[in-house]
């Protein structure tokens, strides 16, 4: 190492949230003018560590050195003063403010607004030219796309003269081309001498853009290596702590009759935006249809229509019989009665009631099941409890205590409770949204196996995921959604990530050729 001090040095950082140790004695050095990747599984503590560096959380123990100087960062103000900027995974923007107001917020020049805004407008223009970060300063945030909003976040940091820029999972909401553009911008920033920390769980990004990479696992720092001296398999092993099967074991599908047929489905939301534009596809018994796409391109709405809590026009046939899309039978209860089970995208806000105990959640959505009733009036809580215990044992939920509140289980175990509830209903059609988001690797494998087993039992499965690896690994057929439309269907054996990535960005075959 040369004698230039590291841009950032963290020594012995620890942080606990109640009984959960999110960061344990973490030390890391980031050299100036480099792009430093931090990779790790969901819940490995990456975001917590960076939030500490940004003063969003306060560490329980440890020291922070900026450019060799020991620095206290009790709040974000101190971090900003130390030249640190952060782009959070969920943007911290005021939705009904203009770009200009968002950039100025907290970095005003005086008690009156006008001069600050005028100055910011000039600055923004020069920053835009310097880094190719063009945004209309008077646009209202909620009218901008996610890519643009991310630019505003970067501009906010640069406006505050950040020398160190932290980006937390910046590509999660971007299409592959947008991500490439972001990486070009990051390259430019690096060339200007800025230090960049990139938090991600995507190996490809680490390999493509970083200079050095640190691997975190279960709240601890595993190792820091030069990117040029490692490879994806090695990093994956470090992330998980053991060799991982990157492929799902499954036999070829034996599709039978069409179970689900969707024809020309359209949704227009309250603001008049078309969320679904003439979506048509079908799913057969015994196959998994994977829907790929960047989040926010209509996949959620599609699941909601099928699950019975969003109205739509068009036609959906289940086993040849139409589903009610607007009337009295367009609700979740009617869908369940028709044999549709649904593992929703957001288990914390949809799939589970976090304050309910595990056994109460076992009956969730199926509270009208005759097996759960003593008579017309009273529910049979004992029967639900027994059923919950059985399911938790079979799905290896830990701890297998049905009396515990859902919020006290880890993400993977919460998801197992939901999957157990839905799969054990033996549905004709299973809807699965983001089955492994925020789930640890062990549980991922288990959940994938369960989904494949249901397919092998001759059921139809519609899988929606933003993880391309998951789509490629599980699906028997892949449909790609972009801007509310199905851009095309592919067979996993005849396609690759690049082709799917282009479809996800709305580039059709003709244009790419």
């Amino acid at each position: 190492m040369s004698d230039i001090p590291p841009a950032i040095e963290l020594v012995g950082i620890s942080k606990a949230f109640g009984p959960v140790q999110a960061n344990k004695d973490i030390s890391i050095r980031v050299m100036p003018g480099t792009i430093h990747g931090i990779i790790g599984e969901n819940g490995a503590g990456k975001s917590t560590l960076m939030s500490i560096l940004y003063g969003f959380y306060k560490a329980d123990a440890g020291e922070i050195f900026i450019a060799g100087q020991k620095t206290q960062i009790p709040d974000s103000q101190a971090a900003i003063a130390a030249g640190i900027g952060m782009v959070f995974q969920h943007f911290k923007l005021v939705q009904n403010f203009s770009v200009l107001e968002n950039v100025v917020l907290g970095a005003e020049d005086g008690a009156l607004l006008r001069p600050s805004l005028a100055k910011a407008r000039k600055q923004l223009k020069s920053l835009a030219e310097e880094y190719e970060l063009h945004v209309d300063p008077d646009a209202i945030i909620e009218d901008l796309g996610v890519g643009m909003q991310q630019r505003v976040e970067i501009l906010k940091a640069l406006y505050r003269h950040a020398d160190i820029l932290i980006l937390d999972e910046p590509t999660g909401v971007l299409t592959p081309p947008e991500a490439d553009q972001l990486f070009r911008i990051l390259g430019r920033l690096k060339a200007e001498g800025k230090t960049i920390i990139l938090i991600t769980h995507k190996l490809r990004e680490i390999m493509d853009i970083t200079d050095t990479v640190s691997v975190m696992r279960r709240g601890e720092m595993d190792s820091t290596v030069k990117t040029s001296e490692t490879n994806p398999a090695d990093l994956a092993e470090r992330m998980v702590g053991r060799k991982v099967l990157l492929r799902v074991d499954k036999t070829p599908a034996k599709p039978k009759d069409v179970v689900l047929e969707v024809r020309d489905l359209n949704i227009t939301d309250a603001k008049g935006v078309h969320r679904l534009k003439g979506v048509s596809f079908n799913v057969r018994a015994g196959e998994i249809l994977g829907i790929a796409g960047v989040s926010g391109n209509g996949q959620s709405e599609l699941l909601e229509v099928l699950g019975g809590y969003e109205k739509a026009t068009g036609e959906i046939l289940l086993n040849g019989v139409p589903l009610d899309l607007t009337g009295a039978h367009s609700d979740g209860q009617s869908r369940r009665a028709r044999g549709i089970a649904h593992v929703p995208e957001d288990r914390q806000h949809e799939g589970l009631i976090m304050d309910f105990s595990a056994w109460e959640n076992t009956a969730f959505g199926y509270h009208h099941d005759p097996d759960y009733q003593i008579n017309a009036l009273l529910m049979d809580n004992a029967a639900i409890l027994r059923d919950a215990q059985e399911k938790m044992d079979r799905f290896d939920v830990r701890p297998a205590d049905p009396l515990l509140s859902a919020k006290n289980f880890s993400g993977g175990n919460q998801q197992k409770i939901v999957v157990a509830r839905e799969i054990e209903r033996d549905p004709d059609l299973l809807l699965v949204g983001q089955p492994t988001r925020g789930v640890d690797i062990g549980a991922i494998e288990f959940i994938h196996q369960q989904i494949v087993a249901l397919r092998d039992a001759g059921k139809a499965i519609l899988l929606v995921s933003v993880e391309l690896d998951e789509i490629m690994g599980l699906s028997d057929r892949i449909a790609v959604m972009f801007d509310g439309k199905i851009m095309g269907e592919r067979l996993p054996e005849n396609t690759n990530e690049k082709e799917l990535g282009l479809l996800m960005a709305g580039v059709t075959d003709g244009e790419s050729a």
């Binding site: 959380y57 709040d75 917020l105 005003e108 009156l112 607004l113």
Partner: protein, 387 residues
């Protein structure tokens, strides 16, 4: 109705609108910062008592005003501690403050003055009196004979207490603070996206407390106005739900200062009507037209919608129709005349109904039939850093 009556009605409307306006702006600052405050009522009531009591004891209405503001700010800070520091339920905290003020004002008034939970009547110089503008007529007889312009100037423009002019001035001032200053930008931001404010290095807690304190100050002035300018002393529950009406006006005003002025003047008009015309007579035919018209409108609205709308609004229509016909037939049988002759009879509208008009209008405003409003996005939720 002659011109002078209209001027008088306008004058009364303004007078009645001022406490609503001050409370409404108080709520505006608080809610724009993301803190719901259902305790405006309690703060006004406490301030009304304290400012009357202190004005009486000290003999200076300005000392009373300051004391009233003081107690209101203390209650506001308690609300802040509950809802900002301890992230408690803002509705429950507000309700508790209302009861606290309702109970404690009477208990202390009794302990202090022993006049059955009220303060003694304030002497002239311990009150806010009307300011007579130069050239304005002050005697009622002169005013009635003056030209319309003079009537307007003397009755409507001149003659209010200084707090009325302050209250009106608070509107442009609030607008300027919200939209033209750094503090206003941050205040609006913290009610929409506290996480954006936090990551921008600004203290959410300090900002919200400032808002809550401003709310306390404005409620304090509103309360003092009631007991030292509108009336000469404190009486039990004298705020009479104005705090809640102010909240409805705030929603009606879409959380904007100038709209708030309009909304409060409208509610002020309702109060003025109640004060001035306690005895309103209507012909049965008009009652029928009004009630049956409402019933028909509700029914037409409901049938195009869902079952629940038909049941509830249909039921309401039936009740309105039943009331109309009852009034009609009862008049006929009471006066011993034919059903058709009864249509032209006049009856007195129950005073309870007139008094209920502002409250009824609040419900209609909240029902959103008078324009749908989008509240501040982070309103009512304590700010918890996400994990």
């Amino acid at each position: 109705m002659d011109f002078f009556t209209i001027v008088q009605l306008g004058d009364a409307s303004v007078r009645m609108a001022i406490p609503l306006l001050l409370a409404c702006l108080a709520g505006l600052f608080s809610e724009r910062a993301g803190i719901f405050d259902i305790g405006l009522e309690g703060k006004m009531l406490a301030a009304a008592f304290v400012s009357a009591a202190v004005s009486y004891t000290s003999g200076s209405v300005w000392v009373g005003l300051l004391a009233g503001i003081g107690i209101s700010v203390v209650l506001a800070i308690i609300h802040g501690i509950a809802s900002i520091t301890f992230k408690g339920n803002q509705l429950i905290s507000g309700v508790a403050i209302n009861f606290f003020a309702a109970g404690l004002t009477v208990v202390i008034a009794q302990g202090w003055f022993a006049q059955g939970g009220r303060t003694p009547s304030l002497p002239q110089d311990a009150r806010f009196n009307g300011l007579d503008f130069p050239g304005a007529l002050s005697r009622m007889r002169d005013k009635m004979q003056a030209s319309p312009g003079m009537q307007f100037y003397s009755e409507f423009v001149s003659g209010h207490s200084i707090l009325v002019y302050l209250g009106l001035l608070a509107v442009p001032l609030s607008w300027w603070i919200l939209y033209r200053t750094r503090f206003g930008l941050r205040l609006r931001a913290v009610g929409e996206a506290p996480e954006a404010v936090d990551t921008a290095g600004i203290s959410v807690v300090r900002l919200r407390f400032s808002a809550v304190i401003i709310c306390g100050i404005l409620c304090g002035i509103a309360g003092a106005y009631l007991s030292t300018a509108v009336q000469a002393g404190f009486t039990k529950d004298m705020t009479a739900n104005r705090g809640f009406i102010a909240l409805a006006a705030l929603i009606f005003a879409k959380w904007r200062p100038w709209y708030a002025l309009g909304a409060c003047l409208l509610f002020g008009l309702f109060f003025a009507i109640d004060i001035r015309f306690s005895n309103i007579q209507l012909q049965i035919i008009w009652i029928m037209v009004l009630l049956l018209g409402c019933a028909a409108a509700l029914t037409i609205y409901a049938v195009r919608r869902e079952k629940i709308d038909v049941i509830v609004l249909g039921g309401l229509s039936a009740v309105l129709a039943a009331v109309a016909f009852t009034a009609w037939f009862a008049t006929a049988s009471a006066d011993g005349i034919s059903i058709f002759a009864a249509l032209w009879e006049t009856v007195k509208v129950p005073s309870q109904l007139i008094q209920s008009l502002p409250y009824l209008f609040v419900v209609i405003v909240l029902a959103g039939f008078v324009g749908k409003a989008i509240p501040p996005r982070a309103g009512g939720q304590p700010y918890v850093k996400e994990r």
